[in-house]
């Protein structure tokens, strides 16, 4: 982990105290959203592309409707910030994807619509029904964008793929170059996004990566807080199998008292391997987890 970027993350906080949002995740790092852009597009009743209203600067006007639902929404009324305004003025092909839904009753901006995003938005709308019956196909579609240079697309892909069952997810492990994985893992600002990188790192087969995973599991066990405890535990089981299960059990289940949050994180790692991992590990995992089940009663 680079000291610079680590410190960066932390102090980024500058805003923190300052901003310390009372109800949001954090502003030290880039939050990992619960919803993907695709979720929002699919949930929207109305979707339009918008640019600056020349008659009313710093506001948006719709230039194209791409989904017209029911009921008819109120006129688009959104503020256009100066930074986005500058970007729009530099590129005539850029627009802003906006949505309206009766639930909120408000228009909101979804994304900057570029040449690369536009076909994906279309695909999302076209595949709505097909993906409802075949969720794996949806994951497979977005996996194609995991390494895309446009962050709006690679981020979208990461959120979608990370939701997939473990045995499907790891099939895409080679879609992101190892250097990118390591670079991202060295950036603590992306800490909330590291889950997929960790799981993919466990699939490189490279001894240095495996050593890093073992080290991280050991380190995390020393501290009261770790942001990706589950992912590192899954990765350790992935690379070390039975030995990994035993080590995690030693660290968390047979050692000093652990917080309920720590135990829940480890339990989740075991569950994922039990349900979607290698069959030969299922019994050992069941044995390891049994004391927890007893404890739960």
């Amino acid at each position: 982990m680079h000291r610079n970027s680590a410190i960066g993350v932390l102090l980024l906080a500058t805003f923190l105290l300052a901003s310390a949002p009372k109800s949001e995740a954090c502003q030290v790092c880039v939050p990992f959203p619960g919803e993907s852009l695709a979720d929002r597009i699919l949930a929207a009743e109305h979707l339009v592309l918008a640019r600056e209203n020349p008659d009313q600067p710093f506001t948006l006007q719709a230039i194209r409707t791409i989904r017209q639902g029911d009921p008819v929404p109120p006129p688009l009324e959104l503020f256009l910030d100066s930074s986005t305004r500058r970007q729009l003025s530099l590129d005539e092909d850029l627009s802003i994807l906006c949505e309206w839904s009766p639930g909120t009753g408000k228009w909101r901006r979804l994304a900057l619509n570029s040449r690369s995003l536009a076909p994906v938005v279309e695909a999302i709308l076209q595949n709505r029904e097909a993906w409802e019956v075949d969720p794996a196909a949806r994951v497979d579609y977005f996996a194609g964008y995991l390494a895309h240079e446009a962050s709006v697309l690679s981020d979208l892909a990461r959120i979608e793929v990370y939701r997939a069952p473990y045995d499907q997810l790891i099939r895409y492990a080679d879609r992101i170059p190892r250097e990118v994985l390591l670079e991202r893992l060295a950036n603590p600002r992306l800490m909330e996004w590291h889950g997929l990188d960790i799981l993919f790192l466990a699939r490189t087969g490279i001894p240095e990566d495996q050593e890093l995973i073992r080290e991280k599991v050991e380190n995390d066990a020393r501290w009261p807080v770790a942001s990706q405890r589950t992912a590192w535990a899954i990765a350790l089981i992935e690379i070390d199998g039975m030995a990994g299960i035993e080590r995690i059990s030693q660290l968390y289940l047979n050692g000093p008292d652990r917080s309920p949050e720590d135990i829940a994180a480890i339990r989740e790692a075991f569950r994922i391997h039990a349900e979607h991992g290698r069959p030969e590990l299922r019994d050992p995992i069941a044995n390891a987890i049994r004391p927890l089940e007893v404890g739960m009663r």
Partner: protein
């Protein structure tokens, strides 16, 4: 004496020496060649209080004192997990010493500052730095002992995770109780004021005791205030700083300030900042924070306790917004207008309650309604740096916090992100410093000047700006070399009210002068920005170019349409002073004055284009940034207004 020039010097200096040293003696013992003509002496004395020397007997402020009224260190809760520089390092850096940044990068100001206000957050002040230091009381808590181990270790993932945990705990109120314990805060406060006191050197470098009170209702609506003490440690220590654990309502803060002043006999002022991130709350024209209608008492109290506003800093400029001032081509400057601190997006109608110029206008309207103006503030600047380094010059910008200290990638780091919206590193503004027209470099003199609003804000350059308003300035006054004498003789300085209009006067006139930063860029123009309230209760604004460089012409509409030009060499991050002027001065009379309409006037001084910090960064790190990243800036200064009251 063989050296002819030395001889010449002696000849020339002798009469002056005699004149200065021997005036009294000469009348008593006149004789021979040493006698001075009594009539000539009489004539010299007749010059009056200014005597022969134009600098004798001056009682007005003669130079601006430069400083930063907004600086954080590792003593701030949000900085202390990573920033390793504390109050001492911050003070040493501000007074001109070289220090190493948290990353170990040697850092120094181009020139020392004259003063600084230490404004670490009062909420949990010193909590993280004391954990790092292993404070014995704090180490009784198992959790804090673990944090201490993490903070002093080298597992940066763990440090980050711990910081995130701490921030969440602060947000949801699950920090260990000691973090909110007034006794703990008082003990930290006394350490804090001790350090500041040690660095305060009257006459040389003024270290102000202060802190930031940091409410974020909403969440994320910036309602922060910097508290500045006129007092020293002995007085400041008598009352524990106010925190948001007690209240997030500014009126409660004012009550606390009143109590402090009553109890100690001391003096405090508060400086709000970042209205641009308040999502419409900072200059609400309808109701108070608690939802009551604005009243005359509210307006009076607000101006009693909050005579200043921080108009520019790293998180954006809040002077004006182009959506409010569409005819102001300089208004689109370093704006942060996407949302609040939580990036909750702006809604239409919020902007007009966030920017200083609009607040000045609304203040006139409210004065008409309430009988007092709640927005009659002066303008100052600050860095709000959380690195302990008040380093906001374009070529010496150490960033908002240690996470964005100089590095090849900081320009593209996500600085704030939420719900698909983000602010990237390049959007940080390298700003700003405050100039104070004080009579001396002491806490008392500088604080008093702040209180009377004789201050101006700069986005970084240390340009000297005078701004006086009166009723009888003449064009000839712009030809003098001593605008201070003329200005104070014939008018009032920035921050004041115009004196009552003489019957014979047609319109107010203003003497405005600007001298470029000695190591900075030439000046493009001086503008006077006027706002007024018409008889129908509507507010208006107008910009006048009153002094422009390079012999350009000002049209009948009061504007100079011709740009000053641009000499910036972006790849090499440099420019030349071959355009613009090093100094500008003018007397300007309001051509549109209506004596029935209340008005305000302030000056804005614009520099010629220079490289933005991003250009220096691109050159130093040999990186290319996309077109959306500005590489050129036009820095500026904003004076406090002068108000006209019919």
């Amino acid at each position: 004496m063989k050296n002819p020039s030395a001889l010449l010097r002696l000849l020339v200096s002798l009469p002056f020496a005699l004149c200065l040293c021997g005036l009294e003696a000469s009348s008593a013992e006149s004789g021979g060649d040493m006698t001075l003509d009594p009539a000539a002496l009489q004539e010299t004395r007749r010059l009056g209080p200014r005597s022969f020397s134009p600098y004798a007997n001056r009682e007005f402020p003669t130079r601006p004192y430069w400083g930063d009224q907004h600086l954080h260190t590792s003593w701030s809760f949000d900085a202390g997990f990573v920033c390793t520089l504390g109050v001492e390092e911050a003070l040493r850096f501000a007074r001109g010493e070289q220090v190493n940044s948290t990353y170990g990068v040697p850092a120094r100001l181009s020139r020392p500052l004259d003063w600084v206000v230490m404004t670490d957050h009062s909420d949990s002040m010193g909590f993280t730095s004391e954990i790092r230091a292993g404070n014995e009381d704090l180490m009784q808590e198992d959790l804090l002992k673990k944090w201490n181990q993490v903070m002093n270790g080298d597992d940066f993932d763990a440090i980050v995770a711990t910081a995130m945990d701490a921030i969440q705990r602060q947000g949801n109120g699950t920090l260990p109780e000691v973090a909110k314990d007034p006794d703990f805060l008082q003990s930290v406060w006394e350490k804090y004021t001790t350090i500041i006191e040690e660095y305060n050197e009257p006459g040389r470098f003024t270290a102000f005791i202060g802190y930031e009170w940091t409410p974020n209702p909403g969440p994320g609506n910036n309602m922060h205030r910097n508290l500045v003490y006129r007092d020293g440690k002995k007085v400041a220590d008598q009352v524990t700083p106010y925190t948001t654990f007690e209240s997030v309502d500014p009126e409660d803060l004012w009550k606390w300030m009143a109590n402090y002043e009553d109890k100690t006999g001391g003096s405090l002022l508060a400086i709000p900042h970042n209205g641009n991130l308040s999502n419409g709350l900072m200059f609400n024209t309808v109701e108070t924070y608690s939802g009551n209608p604005l009243t005359r008492e509210y307006a009076i109290n607000r101006m009693k306790y909050e005579p200043l506003y921080e108009v520019t800093q790293i998180k954006g400029d809040s002077e004006s917004h182009p959506s409010l001032s569409p005819n102001d081509e300089f208004a689109d400057y370093e704006l942060w207008d996407k949302g609040n601190l939580n990036l909750t997006p702006k809604e239409p109608g919020m902007i007009q309650h966030e920017y200083a110029r609009e607040a000045f206008k609304n203040g006139l309207m409210l004065e008409e309604k309430l009988g007092a103006n709640p927005f009659k503030f002066g303008l100052v600047a600050g860095s709000d740096s959380h690195t302990a380094l008040t380093a906001v010059e374009e070529d010496n910008f150490f960033g908002k916090h240690s996470g964005v200290e100089p590095s090849p990638g900081r320009w593209e780091h996500v600085t704030l992100a939420f719900d698909g919206r983000e602010i990237l590193g390049w959007e940080m503004a390298a700003a700003g410093y405050t100039a104070v027209w004080a009579t001396d470099n002491t806490r008392e003199a500088i604080w008093d000047a702040m209180k009377r609003k004789e201050v101006y804000a700069s986005t970084g350059p240390r340009m000297t700006v005078r701004f006086f308003g009166g009723w009888d300035f003449t064009q000839g006054d712009a030809g003098v070399r001593e605008p201070g004498w003329i200005g104070y003789d014939k008018g009032v300085p920035m921050g004041a009210d115009l004196e009552a209009k003489p019957k014979a006067a047609k319109a107010p006139s203003f003497l405005v002068a600007a001298l470029r930063d000695p190591i900075g860029a030439n000046l493009d123009r001086i503008q006077v920005i006027k706002g007024w309230l018409d008889k129908d209760g509507k507010t208006h604004e107008r910009i006048y170019d009153v002094a422009v460089s390079d012999g350009r012409m000002v049209g009948k509409d009061g504007r100079c349409k011709k740009p000053v030009g641009n000499t910036v060499d972006v790849p090499n991050a440099t420019w030349t002073n071959s355009i613009g002027d090093p100094e500008l001065i003018a007397v300007w009379e309001d051509p549109d004055f209506n004596s029935d309409e209340p008005a305000f006037y302030y000056a804005r001084v614009i520099e010629i284009p220079t490289p933005r910090w991003t250009a220096y960064e691109a050159k130093r790190f040999k990186i290319t940034m996309p077109d959306k990243v500005p590489m050129i800036t036009q820095e500026r200064a904003y004076t406090s207004p002068i108000w006209y009251n019919p």
